[in-house]
Symmetry: C3
Amino acid sequence: MGRSMHTSITVETTDRVSVHDITDNVSEAIPVEVGQGLCTVFVPHTTAGVTINEAESRLIDDMESKLADLVPTGQGYGHDEIDDNADAHLRSMLLGQSVTIPITTGDVNLGTWQSILLFEGDGPRTRTVEVAVIPA
Amino acid sequence: MGRSMHTSITVETTDRVSVHDITDNVSEAIPVEVGQGLCTVFVPHTTAGVTINEAESRLIDDMESKLADLVPTGQGYGHDEIDDNADAHLRSMLLGQSVTIPITTGDVNLGTWQSILLFEGDGPRTRTVEVAVIPA
Amino acid sequence: MGRSMHTSITVETTDRVSVHDITDNVSEAIPVEVGQGLCTVFVPHTTAGVTINEAESRLIDDMESKLADLVPTGQGYGHDEIDDNADAHLRSMLLGQSVTIPITTGDVNLGTWQSILLFEGDGPRTRTVEVAVIPA
C-alpha cells in the first residue's frame, strides 16, 4: 500500500452562487488508520473555490455578497465573450483552489469555529472535490 | 515515531488589527533531524489568517489598509448582528488560513524577502498557529 | 534517498505585469517513479504569486485587470517610498504564494480546464518557482 490516500467527494450545488459546508465529507475521507498527517482539499474546477471559515448562515451570505462586490457580474470582462462566467473565475482566483490542514488524532485539526467551505460560482452543477491524505 | 510532526505556536496579538512576523517561531518548530520535506502553517481561527510577504513596516501598514479598503468595517454585514466582526471573517477569507512551504537543508526554504505573517483581524487575543512537518 | 523531492523551475517574465502558464514545467518536475502523493508549488518572491485557473488569453487579461482594479498602482502606499512596488506586494497577498495539488497516476491531478499560473507583478525578471513532491 502506498502512503498517500486519495478520495473524491461529490457535491450537488444548488444555485448559480452557493456555499456548501463539506467538513463532514472531508472527515469521512480520512482513513481510520491515519492518526497524524496532512490533508489537502483540492477543487479541480476553475469557477469554484475552497476556503475555511465559520459556517454561519448570515456570514455565508456576507461572503457571497463581498465576492460579488469585489467582482461584480458582467463588467465587460473579455472572457464573458467566450463563456459568460468571468465573474466566477475571478472570484475563484480570490478564494483559492486548495487548503492544507494538519491531521491529528485521526481527523482534520480544525479550530472550534472552522468549517471547510466549497464555493460554487457558476452552478448549479455536480462538483468534485479531491481529498489527499499523507499519513504519519 | 510517526513521520509527521506537529507543533503549536502561541502569539499574543496587540491590537484589533495587527500583523505578526512568525518566521522564527516556524523555523524553531522544525525538528533538527528533518532535512527535507514540507511544512504547513495553519491558522485554526476564523478571524485571522496567514500570508507570506516582506516584513517591512510600511508595507505591513499598506496590507492592513488594503484589507480595510476591500472589506470596510461595519457595512451592514448580516454576521455583525451576531458577533460584530464580519470584517475580520471576510479579510481572513481573502488572505487564507494555510501556507505550505518546502523544507530544504533543515529549514523552510523562503525567498530572501519573505517572512511568514500572521494577520490578526479581531484582537487582541491569544492566537494559536499549528505547524505540521512532513519529513523526507 | 529521502522521500521528498525538490526541483526549481526558472521563468523569464516579459513585462511589469504578466501571467505565465507553468503547468508543463511542474509536470516535468515530478519524478517518473512517483505514482501518488502531493505536489506543492511555491513562489519564493514577494511581488509574484501563483494561482490555478483557465489559461484562456482573455481571462488572463481579466485577471490582470481585476488585480489592478482591486490594488491600483501608486495610491500613496507607504512602501512605495522605499521600493515603488507596493501594488505588486499587495496583489501577491491577494493571490497567495503556494498551491498544493494531489498527484495521482504520476502527474498533478488537475481538472480539465485548470492550469498552474505564475503571476508576475514587478517584472520583467528571472523568477524561480519551487516544486516539492512528497511521493506515496
